[in-house]
């Protein structure tokens, strides 16, 4: 481009240039002149040497970002930088990203954005996690879930459990109750899960029963020994069936995974301390979720036991005995995966009344 005297009235925009893809940083001026249909842009040294010229429409203008210098790239690679934000805006008018920049500015308007954000985060936490978990459950192939059960059981058998010491008759009693309960479920639900009932000796666990995500149920020997009563067995098994049918185990697993993904996505890199604190906080919050699941399972179990012809009081009996035996050793409510026995008994009473 041959040199010409620019008839620029404003004296140009002051800034710096990196001529033609070099790392050479020079003082520079951006001047404009008429060029037919379009505006012609010259990047010049203060002495008047032209580094590069181009039509304005060929110049790549980076979107504004805070107070960082505005950057213009010309077709042959000359870069012009300037802190004269107003000048650039005069030159280019609204550019790609101007609206975004406007909304990002620190002004009272941001309060609205903050409120919207907090609301959105709350909605995500309240509903989004459940939706993500439900979608993930729907996408999990059945063999994977069965594999989870098998793997968990192998680990348990290896580290915690011994073979059952119950005789045939005791096992048959519980199995019969179990089958009667399961047969009360809708048929499609019956087919969906394996519903195996296993017995194991687990001295560390006391009278207890638990369900794995795929539907495998494990009952401790101590349970049958302490509670030979049909109604109690039916109540507790009903409760565990509730966990399986409502897929509580998987929901919890996927919920915590989703929460982790969400936090990673939204908060990004938060630093070493915060990461730990956020993850621990997530655990505490998930405990509340777990307690709600227990209450759901109680209600499910009570209805199921009643439908199968058992006395719903059985579950209540179980918790009454537990409360007597272990009541003084309960952890505080917020730190527990289960509601306290007192709360549970009250809720059970209320629900039994509703069932009548």
């Amino acid at each position: 481009m041959e040199e010409q005297t620019a008839h620029n009235t404003r004296g140009g925009l002051q800034g710096h240039a990196y001529p033609h893809r070099t790392s050479r940083r020079e003082d520079a001026v951006l001047e404009t002149r008429a060029g037919g249909q379009d505006l012609w842009v010259d990047i010049k040294s203060p002495e008047g040497e032209v580094y590069e010229s181009a039509y304005l429409s060929e110049v790549q203008v980076d979107p504004p970002l805070g107070r960082a210098a505005r950057k213009l790239t010309l077709p042959l690679g000359t870069v012009f930088e300037t802190d004269d934000h107003a000048g650039i805006e005069n030159l280019t008018g609204e550019t790609h990203g101007s609206k975004l920049h406007h909304w990002e500015a620190f002004s009272p308007r941001l309060v609205g954005v903050v409120v919207a954000c907090l609301a959105a985060v709350w909605v995500l936490w309240r509903y989004g996690l459940d939706i993500m978990a439900a979608a993930a459950i729907a996408m999990t192939p059945a063999p994977v879930i069965e594999q989870i059960d098998r793997g968990t059981l192998q680990t348990l058998d290896f580290r915690l459990t011994k073979e059952t010491t119950l005789d045939e008759q005791q096992q048959a009693q519980a199995r019969q109750i179990y089958r009667r309960l399961v047969s009360e479920l809708p048929e499609d639900v019956q087919e969906k899960h394996s519903f195996d009932l296993l017995f194991r000796s687990m001295p560390g666990l006391g009278p207890n029963a638990f369900a794995l995500p795929g539907g495998t149920m494990v009952m401790t020997d101590q349970f049958i020994k302490d509670f030979p009563d049909d109604d109690v067995i039916a109540g507790v098994l009903g409760h565990e069936i509730g966990h399986v049918v409502e897929q509580h185990g998987l929901k919890r697993l996927y919920r915590s995974l989703s929460a982790y993904v969400l936090i990673a996505f939204l908060a990004g890199d938060v630093g070493p301390f915060l990461e730990d604190i956020v993850l621990e906080g997530n655990v505490l919050l998930s405990l509340k979720f777990s307690r709600d699941q227990e209450t759901d399972a109680d209600e499910f179990g009570l209805s199921l036991a009643k439908k199968a012809g058992y006395e719903p009081q059985g579950l209540k009996q179980f918790f009454e005995v537990l409360a007597k035996k272990y009541g003084d050793r309960e952890p505080p409510r917020w730190a527990s995966t289960h509601p306290s026995n007192d709360d549970r008994l009250k809720a059970i009473d209320q629900f039994i009344d509703e069932l009548r």
């Binding site: 050479r24 960082a68 909304w103 959105a120 192939p141 301390f273 604190i277």
Partner: protein, 384 residues
Amino acid sequence: MDAELPAGAKPFEFRGNAKEWFGIWIVNLLLSIVTIGIYSAWAKVRTKKYFYNNTTVVDRNFDYHATGKQILIGRIIVLVGFIIFQVVSSLNPIIALVMLLVLMAVLPWLIVRSMQFNARMSSFSNVRFGFGGSVGRAFVVFILAPIGAYILIAVVGGIGAYLLIEEQSMLGILPVVITFVGLFVMFPFIDRLVKQFSINNHRLGVSGFHMDVPLGPFLKAALLAAGWVVLSGLVFAIVFGTSIAAFFGTMQAGAEPSPAQIGVILLLYIGFFLIFLPASFIYQAVVRNVVYNNTTLEGGHGFVSNVSPWKLFWIALSNAVVVICTLFLMLPWAQVRIAKYLASHTWLLPGSSLDEFVSDQQERGAVIGDAYTDLDGFDVGLPV
């Protein structure tokens, strides 16, 4: 610690401020949520650009050139790959094993691609960075060395345990000691391999970086960190030892913990924070200083870093408290604070004019074709 700065050292500076970054951050967040995560690719670009643009030395800044679309495509590819991997692996255990081997072979390639992408998308003083590490070397650094080291240590430890328990031989103490020393040496050893791989293969334009640090300083950093763990652990044990012992006593009896014991659990958490986290800061700060002080950039340029572990620890701890108490709204402030601290303790020692870095023209042509790997977590991080 506070050695005199060499003459001619030019300070790095972070010019961003919390107010401004807050606006950008919160708008990023809102748009990311509203678009169910899709915008987060553009948010990432804006975030990187903000921190790069505002990091300067001798009035020249860094820049980040990737577009949101590139990042989004990279993420979708990685996500789809991950889902296929999960589903196929779940079909049967043998396929799962084969897939794991495939992953081990593919991972180094992905890491190298990701490092190339990040390097090419970053620039300083209008010159793009580049990365020339080979996939074979990445396999050695990220797969072979860690697995090999673990196997070696496990075998030696196993022999020791066998001799001690089965043969009742005191000779077994030797392999057990070797195992502990081995575990201790392994981390700095592998950390050094990774840093060497990353730094020595990065370049600015056509000028290469070179890190010249023997294993010694890495070991020393690990030793300092281990010293802190032993010392603070000892103090912790003396002060709280009895109540913790009582706690574990009742735990073994198999009972549920009482409220008082929940307090002990809390105490253990706090103990963890005060024992292990400072240790990691000690290690990282000492290593950062040593690495910067012994890294050169072709053209006679050098770097200086003098961050203090305690200051870093204090910033991270107080940041965490403030951020939690403000429902994360002060997170941008915390991020700016740490960026400012790091920049203000880093210097460039220019050996020649910064006007003379030469762009690697060839690389510029290749950028578009190779732009599709953005693996989060493998950001090895360019200066500051």
